[in-house]
């Protein structure tokens, strides 16, 4: 499904701030895999997602989705394959535009934008049905500007936008980290619902070790630009948070920011 092969990315090459963000990282996802990604700050989790999404070009290595090589494609040309939800609830929606306008833009993800009226009755009906599933009452607020919504509502909307047109790969970059616990649970619940229902292949970064083990079918841990732990099946079922921390310390030879990992 997704194949990341020996991807190398160095930031600030040739300066004192040179940093190898992705150190020949390789990762393969099977169809319907829901992989949670953990790791300390600067481990390369977000960089990996950005590399897959095409926010920058990698120095070397290959990335492909369902055999389609995407390594050299700019971000906007990968959009028909990949959709994303960012950590910041503000960054997934256009605030000055209405809910239905945001939705129709997402509905046409990866397709051409033509010179014809964007929203018709058919689309509106579809949006109402989809918004109703969120259970936030947004179905009656189609023409409200998104700037009027709360962070949680905006993140739920972003999630709906990301899955309105089924993507080959869904990238979630700590998409609940900026929300209060109750809202975060709600958004996670929605995430699980939609990934199961649409059988999406998903890559989710989280700082919450509990979530990392409960959600999805596979967990990887990153450190210094490499995947240092990759567990699934029985091994994963038997894993506990404390053992996960232990393994991290053993594998990386350093201590993880445990307070944040446990309290998150």
């Amino acid at each position: 499904m997704l194949n990341v092969h020996e991807v190398l990315k160095t930031f600030n090459q040739g300066t004192v701030n040179q940093k190898i963000a992705l150190n020949k990282v390789s990762l393969e996802l099977l169809p319907n895999d829901f992989v949670t990604v953990i790791g300390s700050n600067g481990a390369g989790k977000s960089t990996l997602l950005n590399a897959i999404a095409g926010n920058f070009m990698v120095d070397s290595g290959e990335i492909s989705i369902e055999g389609i090589p995407i390594t050299r494609l700019p971000a906007h040309k990968r959009a028909d394959l990949i959709s994303r939800v960012f950590q910041d609830p503000l960054s997934g929606t256009a605030a000055s535009m209405t809910i239905e306008e945001n939705l129709i833009m997402a509905f046409r993800r990866g397709k051409g934008r033509r010179l014809r009226r964007a929203i018709g009755t058919k689309e509106r009906d579809l949006f109402r049905i989809e918004l109703e599933k969120l259970g936030l009452g947004l179905e009656n607020r189609l023409t409200n500007k998104v700037s009027l919504l709360s962070g949680g509502q905006r993140q739920a909307l972003t999630l709906l936008m990301a899955t309105l047109q089924k993507p080959k790969l869904l990238l979630l970059d700590e998409h609940t980290a900026a929300l209060d616990p109750k809202t975060a649970e709600k958004v996670l619940e929605l995430t699980c619902g939609v990934t199961e229902q649409q059988q999406l292949t998903t890559l989710m970064i989280t700082h919450n070790l509990d979530h990392a083990l409960t959600f999805g079918n596979r967990t990887i841990m990153m450190h210094e630009g490499r995947v240092i732990l990759d567990i699934k099946g029985i091994e994963r079922n038997n894993m506990t948070i404390s053992r996960l921390l232990e393994m991290f310390e053993k594998a990386s030879g350093s201590h993880m920011n445990t307070d944040r990992m446990i309290l998150a």
Binding site: A75, H76, S91, R108, I119
Partner: protein
């Protein structure tokens, strides 16, 4: 006398409103302060007048002015998106280059159209249009262009353009080439500005190499005045605000002139209008936090 001035102000305001609609497209929709406007306004005037003097039909000349302006905007857009030059500098480069180009187009510093056919002289020949022809043609043009922009901004392409100004990262992740959107927006905007320039020159029957100086600030002032007075709750309302703002701006200028200020002081006044508008939100916040601080101390 008064009605004469009022009519003249109205006519001018409506012509400038076409320019301000262009400024609105870049400044508000794309969130891009495009300084090429100063050059492309004159470019429109220069193109139309020199073509008319050369014997071209004024309607075709006006269309050519739009195309010339569009090309200037495309150039700014390419400088910014393909060569990563900052928005301000891209605009300044185009504006400066256009100054020489405009002089080349005109062949001299100014052109008179006295006695030539213009779109307005043509229009005045229609029945009942002798007295109010300029007003009717300007109003009709503004309403038509405003309506087209309104409809365009509801299309798939228009939404992508708006989202480019609102949240570039997001719309790119939805598969839109934002570079292309910026180039398109800048082209369209400068086309409208040049179109307005050609109208103004044909009304004045005169084009001058320096007639575009300060146009961007006048445009911003008009956008801001309109937004404050009419509001921006929807796209339709924002477009209406822009048109009203342009007319009101001209009215303010006319009043200021009647009060005895020199025409040469206008740019100073216009700059002040924009400065006040830009400063007031920060100032209001500062005053609010200051008074909150005072009451907080009192509470202690």
């Amino acid at each position: 006398m008064f009605t004469q001035i009022a009519l003249g102000t109205m006519e001018q305001g409506l012509m400038y409103a076409i320019m301000v609609l262009g400024v609105y497209l870049t400044f508000r929709i794309l969130d891009y302060a495009d300084l090429s406007v100063d050059g492309s306004f004159t470019l429109g005037a220069a193109t139309a007048t020199s073509l008319i003097v050369g014997g071209t039909d004024p309607w075709i000349a006006t269309g050519m002015a739009f195309i010339a302006g569009t090309l200037a905007g495309l150039f700014t857009g390419i400088l910014h998106t393909k060569f990563k030059i900052t928005p301000l500098l891209s605009g300044i480069l185009t504006m400066t280059a256009l100054y020489s180009i405009n002089l080349r187009v005109m062949g001299r510093a100014n052109i008179s159209l006295l006695g030539s056919r213009t779109v307005f002289s043509d229009f005045a020949k229609l029945p009942f249009m002798e007295e109010y022809g300029v007003l009717v043609l300007s109003l009709g043009s503004v309403l038509l262009i405003g309506a087209v922009i309104y409809l365009f901004l509801q299309t798939e392409l228009g939404l992508a353009l708006r989202a480019t100004g609102d949240n570039e990262l997001m719309i790119r992740s939805l598969g839109v080439n934002t570079d292309l959107m910026k180039i398109l927006g800048l082209g369209l905007s400068n086309g409208l500005v040049a179109f307005a320039g050609s109208y103004v020159a044909q009304k004045l029957e005169f084009a001058d190499a320096s007639m575009g100086i300060g146009m961007i600030i006048a445009g911003l002032a008009s956008v801001i005045i309109g937004e404050v007075l009419v509001g921006t709750s929807s796209i339709g309302r924002a477009i209406l605000a822009v048109i009203c703002g342009a007319v009101l701006y001209r009215a303010i200028i006319a009043v200021v002139l009647q009060l005895g200020l020199e025409a040469t002081d206008l740019k100073l006044i216009t700059s002040f209008i924009v400065i006040i508008a830009l400063v007031s939100p920060t100032l209001r916040k500062k005053i609010a936090s200051w008074s909150a601080g005072v009451s907080g101390k009192e509470a202690q």
